[in-house]
């Protein structure tokens, strides 16, 4: 067993996908923006320590679903969510739930890199400071270093931690945002098209990063790139017009999908 190569371990993991426990469960999730309904009774579960990719044509509700998972939709006045979503069996829309605590457990990385106009160091310590994760400066330093390490940015910025985060390149900024999310030690990380503003090299770095983060975190990623979904995810969910069309192992999804619409979309016939 110990002699198994890393690839073989992953293979075995992927094989056992159906036995991996659920981290988050979405049941009959519907979302309304004012009168307009954006999601129709979506039933989608997110497995622990797995990368789940959400794909589908533009406007089909991928971002909307993603944002229900850490209640970011609460920040939109007109938005209303029905159905039930649980995180480790706890209902995250329960009135007694503190959304601050929820977002500390379910972090988010956005489409456009959005570092705060503060130093790199302050960007990373922002979350830990708010949630009181460190008591001393040494502990903070430790968090900064390990988060930047995990985000694969440490070597590039370790000598300029006190320069502004907005002065980094786009790819570096996005990895800084990932480090910022990781610094809070979330259990789940949501990523909304994290590579759409990046060049291929930066994209490759972020993808590699996602691959590594998977051991410790549960990741949900929205992407428009079929190749990216195939490369980084173990499970893939296909949305269309606010409905969940199909959710399956990524391998199966890209070779032999159950639904005709998935097939069409993956073949580039619409969307």
């Amino acid at each position: 067993m110990n002699m198994m190569s890393e690839a073989a371990v992953e293979k075995a993991l992927d094989q056992k996908m159906n036995t991996v426990p659920f981290k988050m469960i979405g049941k009959d999730v519907s979302v309304y923006y004012g009168e307009k309904r954006a999601l129709f009774d979506v039933n989608l579960n997110v497995r622990e320590n797995t990368v789940t990719a959400l794909i589908g044509p533009s406007g089909c509700g991928k971002s909307t679903f993603l944002r229900t998972l850490n209640r970011m939709n609460d920040t939109i006045d007109s938005c209303r969510v029905t159905g039930k979503i649980t995180l480790d069996e706890g209902d995250i829309y329960d009135p007694s739930i503190d959304v601050v605590e929820l977002r500390a457990r379910v972090g988010m990385v956005f489409q456009k890199p959005n570092p705060f106009p503060k130093s790199i160091y302050e960007n990373v310590t922002y979350g830990p400071k708010i949630h009181g994760l460190a008591r001393t400066k040494a502990e903070l330093d430790q968090i900064v270093e390990s988060s930047l390490q995990k985000a694969g940015l440490w070597n590039e910025v370790k000598d300029r931690l006190h320069e502004s985060g907005t002065g980094l390149s786009g790819g570096q900024q996005q990895r800084l945002c990932i480090a910022r999310a990781v610094a809070v030690s979330p259990e789940v990380i949501l990523m909304d098209e994290p590579c759409s503003a990046l060049d291929p090299i930066a994209t490759a770095k972020v993808e590699e990063l996602i691959h590594e983060l998977r051991t410790n975190y549960t990741i949900v990623i929205v992407t428009h790139s079929m190749q990216q979904a195939a490369r980084v995810s173990q499970r893939t969910a296909m949305f269309h017009l606010g409905n969940l069309v199909e959710e399956n192992d990524t391998d199966k999804m890209f070779t032999n999908p159950d639904d005709q619409r998935t097939q069409d979309y993956i073949m580039g016939r619409f969307g």
Binding site: N114, F116, C177
Partner: protein, 494 residues
Amino acid sequence: MSTSLILLIILIVGLAAYFAGRARAMASSKGKLSVLHSLPGYHGVYVAIWAVLPAAFVLAIWLLASPFFVENSVRSALPESVHSQGSATTELMLGQVMQVANGLKLLNTEELAAVTSGSSNLRDALAAKGVPMANAGETYMVEAAQKYNSLKDGSRWVMSAVVLIIAIAGAVFAIRGISAPFRARNRVERVMLGALLLASSIAILTTVGIVGSMLSEAIRFFQSVSPSAFFFGTVWDPRFSAAGSGGTEGQFGLLPLLAGTLYIAFVAMLFAVPVGLFAAIYMAEYARPVVRGIAKPLLEILAGIPTIVYGFFALVTVGPFLRDISAQLNGLVTGNYVNFIQAQSVLTAGLVMGIMLIPFVSSLSDDIITQVPRSLRDGSLGLGATRSETIKRVILPAALPGIVGALLLTASRAVGETMIVVLAAGVAARMQLNPFEAMTTVTVKIVNQLTGDLEFNSPQTLVAFALGITLFAITLCLNIYALYIVRKYREQYE
């Protein structure tokens, strides 16, 4: 023909030219509009411009120049006896002649004949028509006046003819130039550009003119009072300057006024900044769209109230209120019912000015806070920060440079504010720190020095210009610095 009639005719010619130009362009396109370089409308406007602009230009020049020539020739026609008495008398007589000339027009032919033949008195005849004359008038005057009238009428006729001919010639010239490939649009746009340039240079030149005239008066002031006595003087006591009294030495120390100005502005900002800023944060971050839609315009109405109304409010309501309540307080504490806040005081003026400034602070800051990109908000909220943490740690720091700029703009308004302080601050020029006492400001003293019966050549009045230019320099610096900061802040989020 009167000038307005000529103008009307030019405009009618222009209108006709427009349609003619359009028709001509249509005709030369032979039904296919796409062969035209410019749309027919541009050809029309091009022709109309040629019809109107040169004619209007000549009209303006003629109207400016012709009185000069007419007066000159009448002046030289005045008899030698007048010229020999010097130019002042000549001008006086010339004025009389023009008056007579106006009067003569009102007489009918019989009366005119009587006046020219000398059988009726010129003065009485004109007085009957409501034209008073200073003296009896002499015979040469009637002659000169008639010459004046005929010259003027002649010039007017010639002018009308010339202008009309130019208008028509311009239109004909332009029409003949029209063809399908003709670039009418480019030329029209060049004329438009010229008009815009003219308008903006008028605005700029006016500013330069105002500053220039203030400067020249201020320099006259500094010829009698040394700049160091003005800028570093600590006593403001300009003395009374009665006309012709001359030589009364006053003391023109700027510092007490400047101290009052800055002190009152400071007190005003002390009230306006927290209230305005908190209101802005509430509006931008917490208020629901409905509330925002109502509250924001309401706040902006506050900004539209004329400052004299605030001044009134201070004088009639706030000042007496503060005075009475201070007397009550004093009575409760010490048993001695004497007010310690004067009705006119730094506090009264500052408080009311602060109320006036609240909408400026809040609407400028609100704009700046809402400019902070939504992605920063989402980033912070997504990390589990609460709304107020997001505001405190991300939005305000990001908006800070812009807010500082907004506050500087507000401060420059506070420094330049006049009506409130005139009514509420008092006129006592002194340097002290008690906000309950009256102090005075630069603007108040400008008003004081310029109201009443005065000569415009004593330092007592000229000092107003020196004060004005000082105030201008202060607010200009504040504004430039504020704009610089605001602009830098904008670039940050391009």
